[in-house]
């Protein structure tokens, strides 16, 4: 096959795959979910931020995913003492979820995934490997458990 034909076929396939699902609509769900996640965490940490127990800041990054123009999102950095926990958006092109954020601490990483709960309503879940992946709703208590898992185990 000629070079031009070969690469044009690749592009045509890309264009066909791109329109199979509503990627722009899915991106809106993902970005709204990300905003909701950070809002929830800020709510849970609010009193601790006021007391200077933890600090939260954001780092703008660019996500480049298939079928989408590169777009800006933010990593969320939570600092507690000498430790940093970062929530890193991995993207919306994820098998079985509307998006994924990895929560990285010094000792491990926990996945947070955005899953549909009912029509037009999405909920964040925390993924626990036992060793298969199980997932539980991300609420203040499970967020606390996740922090304990990824952060240093102090005596």
């Amino acid at each position: 096959m000629e070079l031009e034909t070969f690469l044009r076929n690749k592009k045509a396939r890309y264009n066909t795959q791109r329109v199979v699902i509503d990627r722009e609509g899915n991106q809106k769900i993902w970005l709204a979910g990300l905003k909701k996640l950070y809002t929830n965490i800020n709510t849970w940490l609010n009193s601790l931020i006021q007391e200077n127990v933890v600090t939260v800041n954001y780092e703008e990054i660019t996500l480049a995913e298939d079928f989408l123009e590169p777009y800006r999102v933010e990593n969320m950095h939570i600092t507690a003492g000498t430790e940093l926990v970062s929530l890193k958006p991995m993207g919306m092109n994820v098998i079985g979820a509307a998006g994924r954020v990895d929560m990285e601490g010094e000792e491990s990483t926990v996945m947070l995934v955005l899953l549909p709960e009912k029509i037009n309503n999405y909920q964040w879940y925390i993924v626990v490997r036992t060793p298969q992946k199980n997932y539980f709703p991300l609420v203040k208590e499970s967020f606390t458990d996740a922090l304990e898992q990824v952060m240093r185990k102090d005596d």
Binding site: Q17, V20, I21, N26, D66, F67, M90, G91, N93, V94, I95, G96, A97, R100, M111, V113, V127, Q132, K133
Partner: protein
Amino acid sequence: MTKMTFSGKKQNLSIIWQWYEDAQAAFNGYQRDTLNALFQGETLEEPFLFMTKDDILNYFSEQKSELENLVSLNIMASVEATIRIDYLNRVYTRQKDLVSRRFRDLHKEKGVKASLENDILKIWKQEQPLCKKAIDDFQQALKFRHWLAHGRYWTPKLARTYNLNNIFDIAEQLLNVLQI
């Protein structure tokens, strides 16, 4: 003299390589299907649940690397079998060349329990000095073979980095120079 009964199951390098290409093609098909599922928004179960494209590519890269390890082990085992069959055939058919004479003496002493590395290949090197480099390369690669065959629980001290391509080249070169 009790003769060993050969199984007829020994695989040659071209059969092993064909099996490798078939298995690699199967992995690539599985990888394409998985990526297509991701691109089309389909849900898959474990181990792909919640994977991104990079996760999927890393997963298959590791699987294909493991395939290469196992095929490398099979290649080394096949070469060992070829060398041992040649050793026994030379003894059983009473060939007159120097290597065969030395093998008969070795067989009187150790029979089928002659060591590949310390006996058979040693004789090859002594009687066919032109084969020394190919044998040395193979013997170095045997450390990689032993590491794979015995469970990889230690950190091997290898003379070089081995992969399927250079293991195949080492094996093919040895069989070529030994003309077996």
